[in-house]
Every structure is written in C-alpha cells, then in structure tokens.
Amino acid sequence: MRRRFWALAVRDLKLVVRNHHLTIVVAVAVLYSLLVRFLIPADPGVTLNLVVWDQTGARALAHWYGEAAPGPVLLVDTETAYAEALEPGNRIGVKVIGGHLPEAVELTFQGHESSRVRRVLEATLNAQVAAMLRGEYPRFPVTSLRPPGGGEQPPFNLSLVPVLVLFEAAMLGMLLAGVLLFAEKDEQTLRAYRVTPGGTVEYLLARCAAMGMLALVSAGLLTVLTIGPATNWAGILPVVFLGSLVFTLVAMVLANLFKNLGQFYLPSFLLMLALMLPVITYFQPGVSLPLLHLLPTHPLIYALREAYFPTGSPQVLSRAALQLLATFAVAFPLAVWTFRRQLVVKDV
C-alpha cells in the first residue's frame, strides 16, 4: 500500500510539473515576494480623511492638526474651500467655532457613516481637544494577560505574508486537486485505476500529500524571499501542510459534485472567496462576525501570524491544528464517500 501511495503521489507531482503548475507556483511566489519587499509600503498610511476649518482666532486646533496629527488632514480657511474639500465621499469635515479659543466643533458627515463611527470620531475629537488643553489623552490602568516581550506588530507589507501563504500555499490544492481529478476523468485514468488493487483511501491521501508538498514549496519560497531563512519553520510548515491536506479534501468533495472542470470552476472560486473571508477580521480587528470563526481558515490565518510574528501565544498554533484536524476528520470520510459514489458506483 505504501508503494502505491508514493507512486500515486509522484504521478500527481509529475502531472503538476508537466502542466507548468510548479513553474506557476514558483513564479507567483517570486512575484508576491518582490511586491512585498519592494513595492508595498511598510506603513500604508491609511487614516481618516479629515477636512479641518478652524474659524477661531488662535487656530489652535488647526495648528495642532497641522503639526501633531498624523494622516491625511486637509486644512482650509474659507466656506467654499470647506465645501469643495468635502465633495469626495470619504471625507469628514471638522469646523471649529469660537472667538479666540474653540467653543464648539461641528462635524460634517457624508451620510453613509455608521452611528458607531460617528460616535467614535466625536470621542476622538473630544480627547484631542482635551489633550490640547490639558496635555494628555485619557488613561486607565491596564492589565496585560501576556508577559511583556511578545513580538511587535509587523510592518504592513510583512503582515501580508500570512495571508499570501494561506491563499497561495495552504489553499493551493483547492483548485489544482479538482483540476487533476477532471483531467483523470477525461483521460479515463480513473477507470484504469479501478481495476488495480489501489483503493480510494490511498488515492485521496496521495493527492493530499502531493498538494501538501507543493504547498510547502510555495510557502518555503514565499517565506525565504520575504521574511528570510531565519524564521519559525517548525511552526509554519506543519500548519501549511495540515491546511493543505484539509483544503485538498474539501476540493475533492466539491469536485465530485460536478461533471467537468467548467462546472467546477465557478463554485470552487466562490468557495475560495468564502474561505478567505477571515482576512477581513485579520486586517480589521474591530469587525465582529462570529460565523467566520467556524471556517477552518480563521484559526489558520491567526496561527500563521503567530508562527511568523510570535507574540508568546503558542496555543494559537495548537488550536488551529486541532480545528484543522477536526475538519480533516469530517472531510476525509465525506471525500471517500462522494468519490466512491460518484466515480465508482455511478461510473462518471
């Protein structure tokens, strides 16, 4: 059985190489690495677009924004300029009213901002005025549950690496495993395989192993070219490999529901998009979408972040591994069942 397993895995890898998929994997990894290293900035500088019109004599808030506040703040001094500056739909106006010193602030919202965003902006502005007058921002005692010494927040360009590894390496098999299956169906290879002593289990495991190896190549290249060779390989590679096994099986289950690659392409694309949704909470931690926690990609992306940029929370990795193993335990029998039913019993 072990010999057949390896023969199947090697055959899959040969198919992948012959059809230029390995070349694409390497080229894409190099392309992403170049973008991350040389084009995407370490600080994207994405902050609120404020238009400030300080009508007071001292123009204290305007000076404060001009000198101290980071991000894109546009200072204007006439009503026409204020109105014109607020034309783009992503800007918020801050009109400071008063004599010599600020007495009131009028915020001009576009209309689409949520009530929470509005309240937070009011609170932030209030804190800024208070800081200007009293010299400090509001402070409260803080308890940190993790001991100090955890890693710092990675720069923006490197924070993309876990996302790229998830999408390009761990989820590589999502499309490719299905593609290989349909190629075999077209070439009648599966019919030939049925008369061999090989079983469904080793066929599926061999496909998973081949995709897993390809995922390791992709993850390894991306990591070496972006983060460098000195990194937490013991954390990164097992997580990527396990993720790849799970997503390959998911792809095999899905592929068995369709007759050809044309039919499979759009649903698999849709599924990949759905599985990438946890990226939203990865980049926008304030987003509260509990349903996303059920997706296997949710713990995986945090595990990859912990592996690349350790914060002293190794249980994030073990939790991801557990959730992936649980998904594997469900997906594997399902894949075996759909595979036997569709390809063996129905002979399609």
Partner: protein
C-alpha cells in the same frame, strides 16, 4: 466577417454552457457574492473596536459603550480573560475600586488600546468641548463602492476565464477540427467567443452592482467602462486559450492571467502615490480608475472618457502586438 456565423458560434457556446450548467452558475454567482458582500460591508464599514465587559460594569455603561463599539458581555472575569485571549483582538473593560481597568492580551496594536480608552472616557465623562454633527445626506458608502469596483473587475476576469475554458474545450473535444472544415474564419470564431464573454461580463457587472447596492451611478458610464475593460480581459482569455492544450494547463494559465489582472487594482490601493506610475502601462489600472471614478467618486463624463480612452488605446496596442501570436496559436486550419 459574417454576423450570422459569429452569432452561431456564440449560440453554440451558450448552448454548451447551458448544458453544462455553467450558465446557471454564471447567473447564480453574482447574487451569492453580492449577498455575502451586502451582509459584510456594513459590519466592515461600521467597525471600530471590539470590547468585552463583565456585568460589574453596569447596564447603563454597557449601553453607552455599545453606541461606540461592539460590546460582548461575559459572565465573570475568567470568562473575560479567556475572551480577550481569543484569536481576534478584543479589549476587556472591568470595574474596580475607584475606577475602571483595561484588560489587554498584550499583542494588540497601540491603536486598539488607545481607542478603547478614548471610548471609555467619553462614555463616562463630560466633554471638553461641545460637538454637534451635520449630515450631507449621501447614502452610497465608499466601502460598498470599492467592493463594487472589485466585483466589476472580477466579473471581467470571470468572463475571460470562461472564454479560455471554451477555447480549450474546443481543442480537447476536437470540435475545433470540425469548425475548421466549416466556412468560418478565425476572426468569426474569436468574435463569437468574444460576444458570449462580453454578454457574461455585462450581465455579471450589472447584476453585481445592482445587488450589492452600489451607487447612485450612471449605468451608461459603467457600460462604457465595461466595454473598454473587456478588451484586455478577453485578450487574457484568448492568450490562455491559445497557449493551453488541455484544461489542466488552462487553469495554470488562468491563475497567472487572472492574478495579473486582479493584482493591479489591489496594488493601486496599496502602492504609495509616487510609485503608482509603474502601473500606467497596464490597461487594468485604467479600468480600475474608471470604475472607481464612477462608483466611488462620482466622476463625470470627461473623466470617464479620458480614463476609458487611455485604457482602450493601451488595450488595442496589446491586441495589435498579440495578433500574430494568437493568430498562429488559434489557427483553425493548422
């Protein structure tokens, strides 16, 4: 070129798509994506910070905090610690003698903790200055606009992909040899494939923009941008179809082509302004700017025509460069 023969190729591909349920998926795909986006966009656009509180904080304060951020109330302090230690960033708030305390995991960014402190202070105390708000009455969210732009670009990519698969299917099934003996020129064959792809692109863009609630926007401007944007998408589709002998290699080609197509809008968002000029030679950059102009910034006709014109000139230049190669690879008669 005979219009009748072009339509017959398009009709044949449409029948094939209907038989393979691909057409059904093309119709189902936009509503599903738009539905997901409609559910997510308000959550993303309105997101501030996640707070976790215990009942000890008091209902009144929790209600006030909920005006600023999503607040999760957990039964006790151990539950709060456990929640703060969860995978996503959440800041705990607890009442203690003489005040309040923030509970952090320790790996949050500085912004999350500072924002939680600002929110807590604002919920508790009087303001340093009187703040009032006015509203310009706009309803189209820029987040929805940006998602709509990306969906429109994705629709172009999908149309190109379906064209690739269709060409490769003809190669694999041998239909291309049957077509070769029919009185049909290569141009008519490609135009037939292109018409179906264009139909798919127009249908998908319209459905996606309508269902996601993009706008208000001028459909005529979107039509002009889609028509111009489709040229480069179709070119990618034909290239992949031309170089691929089977569906396995077509997927490899589609992965590269689609990646290059969709990477451009993402790079436009991520690149600093000084580096944006590296994207000028790419038609998709101008497609993205034009869609963004109409769907996010409310651009007028002069701007739309300028961006679309540049896009079209670049796309047609690429077509001119590609004609020989594509002609050789997609030759019907060897």
């Amino acid at each position: 070129m005979s219009a009748r023969r072009v339509w017959s190729i398009a009709g044949r591909d449409l029948k094939s798509s209907l038989r393979d349920v691909i057409a059904a998926w093309v119709l189902v795909f936009p509503p599903i994506l738009a539905l997901i986006a409609r559910l997510l966009v308000p959550a993303v656009g309105g997101a501030t910070v996640k707070l976790v509180a215990t009942p000890g904080l008091g209902d009144a304060l929790v209600d006030r905090l909920a005006e600023y951020a999503a607040v999760e109330v957990v039964p006790d302090r151990p539950a709060l610690d456990s929640r703060v230690l969860g995978l996503d960033a959440a800041v705990g708030l607890v009442a203690e003698e003489g005040g309040y305390r923030l509970v952090l995991e320790g790996n949050e960014g500085e912004e999350a903790a500072a924002l939680a402190a600002i929110i807590l202070a604002d919920s508790l105390g009087e303001r340093a200055i009187s703040i009032r708000s006015v509203d310009r009455g706009r309803t189209g969210s820029p987040v929805t606009g940006f998602v709509a732009v990306l969906f429109a670009m994705m629709s172009l990519v999908l149309a190109g992909s379906l064209m690739s698969l269709s060409v490769v299917e003809d190669k694999e099934t041998g239909s291309i040899h049957a077509i070769a003996v029919a009185p049909l020129s290569r141009r008519e064959y490609l135009a037939g494939k292109g018409i179906l792809g264009l139909g798919v692109a127009l249908l998908n863009v319209s459905l996606m923009l309508y269902l996601i609630g993009a706008g208000p926007f001028d459909p005529a401007k979107v039509l002009v941008i889609t028509l111009a944007g489709f040229v480069s998408a179709a070119l990618v589709g034909f290239y992949v179809g031309a170089i691929s002998d089977n569906q396995v290699s077509a997927i490899a080609g589609m992965k590269t082509g689609n990646l290059l197509f969709l990477l451009v809008p993402l790079l436009t968002l991520a690149l600093p302004d000084r580096l944006e000029s590296v994207l000028y030679p790419l038609p998709t950059y101008w497609t993205f700017l034009a869609y963004r102009g109409v769907l996010v910034e409310g651009a007028g006709w002069p701007e739309v025509l300028r961006l679309t014109g540049i896009n079209l000139v670049l796309s047609l230049a690429l077509v001119a460069v590609s004609v020989r190669f594509l002609g050789r690879r997609l030759s019907l008669r060897g």
